[in-house]
Symmetry: C2
Subunit: 331 residues, 2 copies
Amino acid sequence: MTKKYQVVGIGNAMVDVLTHMDEDFLLAEGIEKGIMQLIDRQRAVDLYGKVGPAIEMSGGSAANTIAGIAHLGGACAYVGKVRDDQLGAIFAHDLRAQGADYETRFAPADAEQETGRCIVIVTPDGERSMNTYLGVTEHLHPSDIDESQMAQAEWIFLEGYRFDGPDSHAAFAKAIAACKQAGGKVSITLSDPFCIDRHRAAFARMLREDVDLLFCNRAEMTSMYQTDDLDAALDLAAEEVDIIACTDSEKGAYIVAGGQRWHAPAVPTRIVDATGAGDLFAGAFLWGLTHGYDPQTSGRMGCVAASEVISHLGARVEKDLKELFVASALI
Amino acid sequence: MTKKYQVVGIGNAMVDVLTHMDEDFLLAEGIEKGIMQLIDRQRAVDLYGKVGPAIEMSGGSAANTIAGIAHLGGACAYVGKVRDDQLGAIFAHDLRAQGADYETRFAPADAEQETGRCIVIVTPDGERSMNTYLGVTEHLHPSDIDESQMAQAEWIFLEGYRFDGPDSHAAFAKAIAACKQAGGKVSITLSDPFCIDRHRAAFARMLREDVDLLFCNRAEMTSMYQTDDLDAALDLAAEEVDIIACTDSEKGAYIVAGGQRWHAPAVPTRIVDATGAGDLFAGAFLWGLTHGYDPQTSGRMGCVAASEVISHLGARVEKDLKELFVASALI
């Protein structure tokens, strides 16, 4: 029986606040370049008061991935928590307008917590330094997981970042069980090396027991398997996980599946804003895989999508990805 | 004595919701292309539910002008009403982060009204069709005008659109009186031909009695003086107003002052989004005029700024305008 969804993503529902600042600002504010750092509400207010004019766009790592799949016409849904506020409405609108199912799971009214936001500071080199106030999205609870929805997914896609919350491990476990029981498969992104440091044991167990498809980049792969040797890490991962898609910045991506390894070359572009590269890689890869394309071709689709999203501001696709796939002779 | 502000703007405080849709969508929704139409809250909700993914950016016609002056380093302030909500915070942040003074005038808590927003539908030709839900910004009241602030302005800049509110005529009259009494001057933009149709008599009186500098485009100028002949309209306007800056799309702008008329050529560019062209023309013109440049040079600055803002999405400047002025040998 055909399932309703090719992919259901679970992650941090966020609105990105994108602003251009120089390297000196990062230094003065003690912001680590190129990574995601968690900040509390007061820091979010203080930092926002210091950055320049900004634009607001829906973000969230897994949400960007799901938006990419929806853009390609894939049947997909998203689970993540917002509050009933203006930023929550923006997040929900953009995902639904792209064609993804999203049943808003509102947090209970609470004066302290709002819809999550990420202050993305883009430096002149196009690198992005993310400052994330999680807000209500931190409180994803097992009760927010609809088992029948997970059973309707060919794949679920889990965002590593979402592990940064008290009830989320249990929520993920519930989603995995419901998906697997119905014959579905599990994919995960490790999100970033610091996220791995925070949740290494939980990730290791999931990779051993639950995960069928692993998304990561070079730094995450070597951090996860605690070796500097990417090849060795890929071999270790391949013992646990069926398919591995490991991105490597301007070198492209390595795909491992069925005892084979392929290299998918990066598609050169001028980097305007690196936000969303990994997210859109995963989106295009999952779209390919669920539409009859092999892992190698899906990896090349991922590289095309990543190249598109870093060529402009924001982590959602602008150009027609299918046209780009055609231009690259992938479909 | 030097005044604190070169320009204080008064207008509709709005956040723009920018989305790309095709011409068919405009037809299906009965949206008139290229103009601003007022919509109520319910229509704003309905229309937002129908448009594609969007990005949010601070907007508001006079606010765009003031942001442009602030970007150039001019001393300026803005008056316009938001609500104490997330969109209001975004609007206030972006203006202050650009360097303009903005004392938030919050509307009283009211379940029905929120911070104003404009759903800007950008068609493939770069033209923008604006659907404005005014929200609380409609209720600008004389009590929101600080006479001492108006007395500290070399120029005040009035947004024609802001006439669409019950107490705003009185608010404008109060601002004009306070500014003039302290030796300041009054500029106005007529905003659009439909705005003129709504407020022709009030505009005519202000042009006769109060206005020292008139901003408009060809359609507004000919509508205001009810003639198809732009030259005739400019002559009529010149009898009433000291300086006239009339834009004419790809032809550039006509500047009339001291019995002379100049043509400022448009600066060719690829139009991505026409939003803000007139606003930034006015901002650069006012900056030039208040920094010792003659009306002709100020008009050329206006054309450079308009060209910059239509070359990308959104109505706030991205590139360094002073560098562009240098490149055009204007400063």
